[in-house]
Symmetry: C2
Subunit: 219 residues, 2 copies
DNA sequence: ATATTGCCGTTGTTTTTCCAACTTATTCAG
DNA sequence: CTGAATAAGTTGGAAAAACAACGGCAATAT
């Protein structure tokens, strides 16, 4: 694990933890290193998962398979990123996805039970860690909620309007740069690219927006 | 506040906090009570919000307005429930919604900064509270992620298949009771009710599923 | 300068979904 | 039991979105 310590320290999970506190904290969190061969499963849907997985080498795939066997890659977790935090914080709830090594991979398992359900004092380092975790989950929550609002809009136009509205709100002005190309934006809003292009054109013609390439403004 | 103490204690935020620890914890969290008249705004999109709001009387609406002024009620928070937790855990990120009193309302503001960014020890009560918060956010996260998967499916049939798959997985068997009526299920999956009925029929005819009323089974 | 490539807009066609209206089934009250 | 009310299934036409194919444009390579 020692050769990966700098990567661990750089993870947002451990942000703000004093250098000297990191190793004791890792012990406290019962951190264990695991090595996996490409294609090996880290856990399956239905397993109780009580740790956060942090990828140190390689990458893993989060996978879901439906009742009829259709398999779906939900996300790829690269080196430096983590997964399973929602399951780890809900020990009574089993995993709802499979996780498989997309390449030979090294991860650490971070057991959070101690800092969550202890009923005892938390050291400053533990408090910092839980605070970090809370912030990360809050941020994920915010992103999910926002995206959900786009997806539940009934028409493509409404999805676009809400999305552009929020971009303008975030930037604080009605003119801004789109952070996606068209294909990425279409994927994000879960619509067809050409349909997106067409709808943007219509909205321009209708006087709702103006744009040129990735320069947008709301009217 | 005293007359509402039993409601506060019953909130999942304070689950597991020893009775004697509640009042000191509330002080610690700088809890303040506020009264609002119907229609009054608790905060606006763009405001920095550093507290969790817990509704003690009445109810509040979470509202979003887009750039062109279209207003949208995202959710209603009734007595006993809370809101704003994601903003409170991300002090640098301003609110992205408005909150307005749907009726005359009483709420308390729970300031979490102390237990999040202190860099100091946490008492058992504080630790319990942050643990609760983490669990609640994890659960919300899980639900959002799962729903998102349904919504990003391209066809109605795929939405249904994934949703039913997950129900069967949760129950542990291929036969189960649907927790929604058709209209609710359609709303949840963001599709038209009659289209949902029609697609269910087709799926039955195609031998994928069988059902009668809310009794479903996967084949 | 020319070819290649990737991104974006446009258009016509096909497919899917929505929508409205109606039928059938079920529940519940009197 | 009867009738009203609610929920679910069915159908046909309208609207929207997806899909496929193509052309323009700009950046980059040859």
């Amino acid at each position: 694990m020692e050769q990966h310590l700098s990567l661990i320290e750089k993870s947002p999970l451990f942000r703000g933890v004093a250098k000297d506190d990191v190793l004791p904290l890792l012990q406290d969190l019962k951190v264990r290193q695991k090595n996996y061969k490409k294609g090996e499963f880290l856990f399956y849907s239905g397993d109780p998962v009580t740790y956060i997985g942090l990828v140190l080498e390689g990458s893993v795939h989060i996978i879901q398979e439906d009742y009829w066997g259709n398999r779906n890659i939900l996300s790829q977790i690269p080196k430096g990123f983590f997964f399973g935090e929602a399951f780890a914080c809900l020990p009574e709830a089993p995993a709802t996805v499979d996780v498989v090594a997309a390449s030979d991979a090294v991860i650490i398992q971070i057991y959070v039970a101690n800092v969550l359900h202890g009923g005892h004092l938390l050291t400053p380092a533990e408090a910092q860690f839980t605070g970090n975790l809370l912030g990360l989950m809050a941020e994920k929550n915010r992103l999910l909620t926002e995206k959900m609002r786009y997806l539940t809009q009934r028409s493509t136009r409404q999805k676009i309007m809400l999305y552009l509205s929020n971009l303008a709100r975030d930037k604080g002005k009605s003119a801004f740069v789109l952070p996606f190309n068209r294909q990425q934006m279409a994927d994000f809003l879960s619509v067809d690219r050409s349909a997106l292009s067409a709808e943007l054109s219509k909205m321009k013609k209708d006087g709702l927006i103006d744009y040129h390439k990735d320069q947008f403004s709301l009217l």
